[in-house]
């Protein structure tokens, strides 16, 4: 049995990140609830982190910089998730729904 070795080339990782990014965009457009949109946005951020780490591993002279970028992306993603979730809870309290089409009134 033979198996192709693909984990030593940059384009493999870039392709994985592109596919993950595509899934995230598709989910953002398709989902009918705010929590689902948040989940898809996390996929997009993970794709960006994979790109940073791939360039860091294969092209950067200092392999620390990409890891720091990915760590900061993780921190900002956690912060974003917390703020969005508390906004979702407030929206649910006011509208009794987390469908983004229902929150269509200003200055409520």
């Amino acid at each position: 049995m033979e198996i192709p070795i693909i984990y030593n080339s940059l384009s493999t990782y870039l392709l994985i990140a592109a596919v993950l990014f595509g899934f995230g965009i598709y989910g953002i457009i398709k989902h009918r609830s705010l929590v689902g949109i948040l989940i898809s946005a996390e996929l997009v951020l993970a794709a960006a982190s994979i790109n940073f780490m791939a360039f860091n591993r294969f092209l950067a002279p200092d392999p620390v910089i990409g890891q720091m970028f990915a760590l900061f992306i993780m921190g900002l993603a956690a912060a974003k998730a917390v703020i969005v979730l508390s906004i979702i809870v407030v929206v649910y309290r006011n509208y009794k729904s987390i469908d983004p089409e229902d929150t269509a009134e200003l200055a409520g």
């Binding site: 049995m1 033979e2 198996i3 192709p4 070795i5 693909i6 984990y7 940059l10 384009s11 990782y13 392709l15 994985i16 592109a18 596919v19 993950l20 990014f21 598709y26 989910g27 953002i28 457009i29 398709k30 009918r32 929590v35 689902g36 989940i39 898809s40 996929l43 993970a46 982190s49 994979i50 780490m53 791939a54 860091n56 092209l59 002279p61 200092d62 392999p63 890891q67 720091m68 990915a70 760590l71 993780m74 921190g75 900002l76 993603a77 912060a79 917390v82 703020i83 979730l85 508390s86 906004i87 979702i88 809870v89 407030v90 649910y92 309290r93 006011n94 987390i98 469908d99 089409e101």
Partner: protein, 183 residues
């Protein structure tokens, strides 16, 4: 091509398993009708991404990925689902008729563009790496080169904690939490 039962062959098999985890998790996260299943798909996908980080030479980052994403963020989302969808599954009935097809076309175009860009670009030759990029180097860079960003991240996290408390407190009655009638 490598024979399967060598170290490189088994590592290649493991790489395929992680890629499969990412794709299955992303499918579940985008296609599940139930929000709890979507969160489980996100956690699965993040475990796969952590494996990819391991292959990219950063065990520290893969551990952080599992801790923060598959642990903290997914649990926070589950809490929000429990607070915002307490009556369980609720079908989202009014989907726009072209949302699925339009999203598919848009994401396919973006993925095709990114993939062709990744495959066609002549990436430069990798330079000599000046350090192994181990945990020790990451920690040293964190408190020397990236000190300001590190402090800014902690400031952002503190603001987020206070902001989330302020946001979630609005709408509560001042006389204390309302009594739950039935559950």
């Amino acid at each position: 091509m490598m024979p399967l039962f060598t170290v490189e062959g088994l590592a290649g098999l493991l790489f395929f398993v992680f890629v499969l985890l990412i794709i299955l998790g992303a499918l579940a996260a985008t296609h599940a009708a139930d929000l709890i299943r979507a969160v489980s798909g996100l956690a699965l996908c993040m475990v796969g991404v952590a494996g990819i980080y391991y292959f990219l030479g950063s065990p520290f980052l893969s551990l952080m990925q599992i801790l923060i994403y598959a642990g903290a963020i997914c649990i926070a989302i589950v809490f929000a689902v429990m607070l915002a969808e307490p009556q369980g599954v609720r079908k989202f009935r009014r989907r726009h008729p072209i949302a699925g097809a339009g999203g598919l076309v848009a994401s396919a175009l973006l993925t095709w563009g990114l993939a062709s860009l990744a495959l066609k670009t002549a990436w430069p030759q990798a330079p000599e790496q000046i350090n192994p990029g181990a945990l020790e180097d990451v920690g040293r860079a964190m408190v020397t080169t990236f000190l300001v960003s590190f402090e800014l991240i902690s400031l952002v996290l503190m603001i987020v904690i206070v902001g989330a408390l302020v946001l979630a407190r609005q709408g509560r009655s001042r006389a204390g939490p309302e009594k739950s009638s039935n559950s």
